[in-house]
């Protein structure tokens, strides 16, 4: 059982709760591998995708997960809603709830928005990414993928590479992987790694080859082009020279290391095509596992509400 009616972040979960989600997802992973991919578990429930930021993959993944659990799904996207007419966030969310939503999947550019709604609404709020805070289902699907490939977290060295400071994926993964007992390293230019972050129980490296030494898992993050415009690094070329995951850099990791990326990838910037499409890459498996994880989260939250 999950303690809360909502999934706001990994920060709020215990290791046991994370493991419960992973175990539950394993069952759904089998379901979605079948020819008939749907179960009636949540028939009659309503899911609303409330996305205030553009997203294709996460929204689609949640939509599929909700449909495979037999809930009715509505996509409430910003440009077509009354938000553009100046409606407040709370009013929009209250309206969605009044329409009968049991699950509200929310993505917003401001950190803490799922928490704000959680206090105001009875529906289960699932955080699909809030500002630079968290993206919990991404971290759960990453943990699921790692566990499938590597088993026990306690002996693993995992490197997260790139723009840590602005990445909600990195934040959720730091919480999840440290709670599960893995050793987490962060790699990137000092301008993209917050000071004090070691206090979360991670190691920080700036030279990629040093950080990748003997790691079991490499998680690459998307580099957003606007970071260069804002001066976090001088040029894309220099970023590539120092922090792009190439085959050569990959060789510093363990031989059987896996390479992950939450997508969408900037090929040739944070990762070369050779690595992205290579034998170590599990990037597409992450996508498939994402549906199973999101089904598990909805299923468990539905139980915690009774």
């Amino acid at each position: 059982m999950l303690k809360s009616k909502d999934l706001l972040g990994i920060k709020e979960l215990t290791a046991e709760e994370i493991t419960l989600v992973l175990n539950t997802a394993a069952g759904f992973r089998d379901v979605i591998a079948r020819d008939i991919k749907k179960v009636p578990a949540l028939r009659g429930k309503t899911t609303v995708n409330l996305f205030f930021e553009p997203s294709t993959r996460t929204r689609t993944s949640f939509e599929l997960a909700a449909k495979r659990l037999s809930t009715d799904v509505i996509n409430f996207s910003v440009p077509t809603s009354s938000v553009v007419k100046g409606e407040s966030l709370i009013d929009t969310a209250m309206t969605v709830q009044a329409l009968g939503a049991d699950f509200i999947i929310i993505r917003h550019s401001s950190s803490g928005v799922p928490h704000l709604l959680s206090n105001k609404l009875k529906a289960s709020i699932i955080n699909a990414g809030d500002g630079i805070n968290e993206h919990p289902t991404q971290a759960l699907l990453d943990a699921f993928t790692i566990r499938e490939k590597k088993g026990d977290f306690r002996n693993l060295k995992i490197a997260i590479v790139g723009d840590i400071a602005h990445s909600r994926v990195a934040k959720s993964n730091i919480y999840s992987l440290t709670k599960l007992g893995a050793k987490v390293r962060l790699i990137g230019p000092p301008t993209l790694i917050p000071r004090n972050i070691e206090q979360l129980g991670v190691e920080v490296f700036h030279v990629m080859e040093e950080g990748l030494q003997d790691v079991d898992v490499i998680m690459m993050l998307r580099i957003q082009m606007e970071r260069q415009d804002k001066g976090f690094f001088p040029t894309t070329e220099e970023y590539v020279k120092n922090w792009c995951l190439t085959s050569k850099r990959l060789s510093f990791a363990k031989k059987d290391a896996i390479v992950m990326h939450p997508g969408p990838m900037n090929r040739g910037i944070e990762i070369t095509s050779e690595v992205a499409d290579g034998a170590s890459s599990v990037i597409l498996e992450q996508v498939t596992n994402g549906i199973a994880i999101r089904m598990a989260v909805m299923y468990l939250l539905s139980g915690s509400r009774k």
Binding site: K11, S88, L89, I90, H108, S109, S110, S111, G112, V113, H115, L116, D130, G131, I132, N133, E134, R168, K171, P194, N196, I197, Q199, L200
Partner: protein, 431 residues
Amino acid sequence: MKILIKDGHILDPSQNIDCRGDIIIEDLKIQEIILKPGEQHQRHKENIRADKIIDANRHLVIPGLIDMHVHLREPGFEYKETIKTGTFAAIKGGFTAVCCMPNTNPVNDHESVTEFIIRKSKQEGFCTVYPVGAITKGQKGEELAEIGTMKNEGCVAFSDDGRPVMNSTVMKRALEYSKTFNVPIISHSEDLTLSEGGVMNEGLLSVKLGLRGIPPEAEQIMIFRDILLAESTGGGLHIAHVSTAGSVKLIREAKKRGVNITAETCPHYFSITEDAVEGYNTNAKVNPPLRTFHDIEAIKEGLADGTIDVIATDHAPHHVDEKLNPFDSAPFGISGLETALGLCLKLVQEGVLTKKALIEKMTVNPAKILGLNGGNIKTGSLANIVIIDESKEYKVKAEDFVSKGKNTPFDGWTLRGLPICTIYKGIIYEW
């Protein structure tokens, strides 16, 4: 009408009065102060005739407090606060004079706006309002506003509060130019290039909450710049809302060198840390941001050793809907007038400040910095007096604020020491 305040503990740091006594008020003015040393807790037997007798036995009787940093929001943002509601909140909090910052709409960068504020406050206000004029036209930080003309109209200081003057040359000129008119320049010290996008203190907690940080350096760099400019120009500089340990240190060192500066902090900077932001509490979103325990300690030291001259509220009322926005987009500010005195008295209860030192920072010190009459209890002057029940414990209830701004991180706190009576120009407000 003749009013007698009987048997109170009169404390007026400006005249070194710290003694039991009576005050007689007639025709809006203080007619007589009868000090009764040596009569601790004995009822005075003589009978003074008066129309109204206020029994102040066991209560503290002090000059009406002066808050040199508030936002009254009028003109332009009357849905947040008006001169009427803001000055009533002041009276309730024990203040009989407030200085209102110029970031209204239109900005108080012209004598006509100054005139409007003063006229409106005389018509509708409950206490005295001293406007603070903008340093630059439109608070844009580019061209100086008509400081001389606005001073003649009633502005007592100049500040672009809410925004810094980023251009150092403009700030230098303001400090030079204002000398002619003998008015202080109040610095809202914030390097916008460092604070850009920030919504709380930069540190581990901002990382954990995924909120963008405002580093202490954003404040300190500008304080240091303005100290250097004040030093070279000899202009009068007052540093607003000091929030960091580093700022206290810079100001202390400058004062030691003899630079002509003064400084203020606000109750929230010595009462709560950034932890109040946890749970994305927009009522704890304030600029400069709430800092750490280490900063609180340094600010208390700065208050105790006189580095920080004044406690002001930076009363910044907002509409409840605005504070219901996501943390990033909610406005900065705390509604402070009605909790200030209780939070400040904690400094006395904790032994950080003597009662006299505290009252000094809320009466005579701001009066001196701004060249105001008041902040004292003197025979012949206007009767602006506050009576405080120091032992009264009460629970802060934001919904009961008379200010339109209910935005406080102190809702539900228990405080000790409450103004039970504020007398402004002979008018009695009892609570």
